[in-house]
């Protein structure tokens, strides 16, 4: 089965597929709109193998997504907070000949692409117009229209790291996504009666598979929150008005719900599940939430983009007596915890979590070197540390990799350090995670300034980062130091 079959199988269904900005779209309408766009893209002659989507959560995102699936192209979502440098490096890395966008995002995109070293088409999905930007060089021509993808072809390229250089995207195949969708449905016993509220970015692996595609596969409905930011009272309004049955969020969203004083005044009886993952959820706060919403089942999940993404789930029946655990592997996913020699650790001991199953990615796009260190003998080495309890429930204990998880998003300190070192006044930089009551962690920078340089202020460094990095990667604090603590081998000591 291919991703496009999810829509093709329901192309004449009058069931509600998507609710967005006061409008309802049935599966039939969604099919007609998506196939219309697919035809336009085909006719444009710019439909390269990989095509970008630079759109916020919206009906247009859904239409663009399925248009590319119908065309058999690989979907390359670009986060709308991406700045010029990231857009250009993505276009280059993914060989994009075409990017789909709309409205004010089109203006930002066009401004970024003007200096691109080769031609890139920008398709405005609202007005059905295509313009070509960048130098006159045509590097990527339209791809064969007769291309027929198979299940092991890459369906989507999801961003993991690399804002300015060394971008790294995960190749998820049709088979990866479909297997994870099926596992997710079986694990949560989801039905076509579901109505899922989407507030996470749709390009986020967690939302892409576990919410968006899972519900489309079921023939159920998704409701896309059209608020530019997540606020608790807006969340509850949607839950009540649309009789939402499930929601997926990150811990920071759940903490916001808990801090909302009118939370008891809303009818949440239709809500079966709140799934959450991607960051640390304080146990006392989770308990408080479970007691505050006794009719809602809280599902603590664990996964990573490389695993399509879901790997484990702690179901509501275990939510209290196994609190703090991320549960057990979902159907079809195998999980082991190993020591440095690759042997399984005994129960209770900490080791690295490795995963196996049809959900494990094909690899990192054009990065066989990194792929071979991540997937060994078919097992995905997650870099996450954990342990099993006596009943085989998994508990996360830390990370082997150097990652800051802020509001559910992975931030690699090296990316920020690389940007900082690009400033003429910075000699050395070290970025660490600083605790934050809602976001879990936020990046904080320690800087050693270059000698004999003109005056460099913290404000200047902040502005410099703001001009290159998405907002969530801009350090909240810049501490000027005379030197950085180093290990015996000269590496910066982060902790």
């Amino acid at each position: 089965m291919l991703i496009r079959d999810i829509l093709l199988e329901r192309s004449s269904s009058e069931t509600l597929a998507v609710f967005y900005a006061g409008k309802q779209y049935t599966y039939r309408a969604l099919y007609e709109l998506s196939s219309g766009v697919a035809e336009k893209l085909r006719a444009s002659g710019r439909a390269t193998r990989n095509i970008g989507i630079y759109l916020p959560n919206s009906i247009e995102y859904v239409i663009a997504y399925f248009a590319l699936a119908l065309l058999g192209r690989t979907i390359v979502p670009i986060g709308i907070q991406a700045k010029k440098i990231e857009i250009l490096s993505t276009a280059e890395y993914c060989e994009l000949g075409l990017i789909i966008t709309k409205g004010k995002y089109k203006n930002d995109l066009c401004e970024s692409l003007e200096s691109n070293p080769y031609r890139v088409g920008v398709y405005d999905i609202e007005f059905d117009t295509t313009i070509a930007l960048g130098a006159v060089v045509e590097r990527y021509q339209g791809y064969s229209n007769t291309f027929e993808p198979v299940e092991d072809d890459t369906a989507i390229l999801l961003h993991t790291s690399g804002t300015t250089s060394n971008p790294k995207r995960v190749m998820l195949t049709h088979a990866n996504l479909i297997s994870n969708i099926r596992s997710n449905i079986e694990s949560l016993e989801l039905t076509k009666e579901e109505r899922s509220l989407i507030a996470l970015p749709m390009f986020f692996g967690y939302c892409n598979t576990a919410q968006f595609l899972t519900h489309m596969f079921l023939g159920a409905s998704i409701v896309i929150m059209d608020s530019p930011i997540f606020l608790p009272h807006i969340f509850f309004e949607f839950i009540e008005r649309h009789k939402i049955t499930n929601f997926t969020g990150v811990p920071s969203m759940l903490l916001m719900l808990l801090s909302y004083r009118n939370r008891g005044m809303h009818d949440v009886t239709a809500l079966r599940y709140i799934c959450f993952g991607g960051g640390v959820m304080p146990i006392d706060k989770l308990k408080e939430l479970i007691f505050a919403f006794p009719t809602v089942g809280f599902v603590h999940t664990y996964g990573q983009t490389e695993a399509s993404p879901r790997a484990t789930a702690l179901l509501p029946r275990d939510a209290l007596h196994k609190i703090g655990s991320v549960g057990k592997p979902i159907p079809g996913v195998a999980l082991r915890i190993i020591d440095d020699e690759g042997n399984d650790v005994v129960k209770g001991e900490i080791g690295e979590i490795i995963l196996h199953g049809p959900n494990v990615m094909k690899g990192y796009y054009k990065r066989p070197d990194v792929t071979s260190t991540a997937i060994i003998d078919g097992w995905l080495h997650t870099g996450d540390l954990g342990r099993h309890d006596v009943d085989n429930y998994v508990y996360l204990t830390g990370r082997k990799k150097n990652i800051i998880i802020s509001g559910g998003m992975n931030i690699y300190p090296e990316e920020i350090e690389e940007v900082l070192l690009g400033h003429e006044g910075v000699q050395e930089a070290c970025v660490i995670g600083e605790e934050h009551p809602i976001l879990g962690e936020v990046p904080s920078a320690i800087i050693v300034l270059s000698k004999c340089e003109k005056h460099v202020s913290v404000e200047m460094l902040k502005d410099f980062c703001m001009s290159i990095l998405p907002q969530n990667k801009v350090p909240v604090r810049f501490t000027i130091a005379t030197e950085l603590s180093k290990t015996a081998t000269g590496k910066i000591r982060r902790y």
């Binding site: 606020l231 608790p232 009272h233 009118n262 969530n472």
Partner: protein, 86 residues
């Protein structure tokens, strides 16, 4: 009084926002989300600070994004709340 409230709100915006903002650049039409890049967490912190700084309570209607995202509208709303208290 009016200028005191508006100046205090400017200070709260500057302290909660991530972007370096000059108080003089915040105008009536300044949009906290579009112009200053406020996200959910910053907006919630902003609401809490407004309540604490002015001793007022903001209900769900007050925290409508059309109201809350524009500096000038927030100033008017807080002034009304303070007037009601007196």
């Amino acid at each position: 009084m009016v200028s005191e409230v508006s100046e205090k709100i400017k200070m709260i915006i500057i302290s909660k926002g991530k972007k370096e903002v000059d108080a003089n650049s915040i105008e009536e039409q300044t949009n906290l989300i579009d112009d200053l890049g406020f996200d959910s967490v910053q907006m919630i912190e902003f609401i809490v600070s407004l309540e604490e700084s002015f001793g007022v309570s903001l209900d769900d209607a007050d925290v409508d994004l059309d109201v809350l995202s524009k500096y000038g509208v927030v100033v008017k709303m807080i002034e009304k709340k303070i007037a009601k208290k007196v």
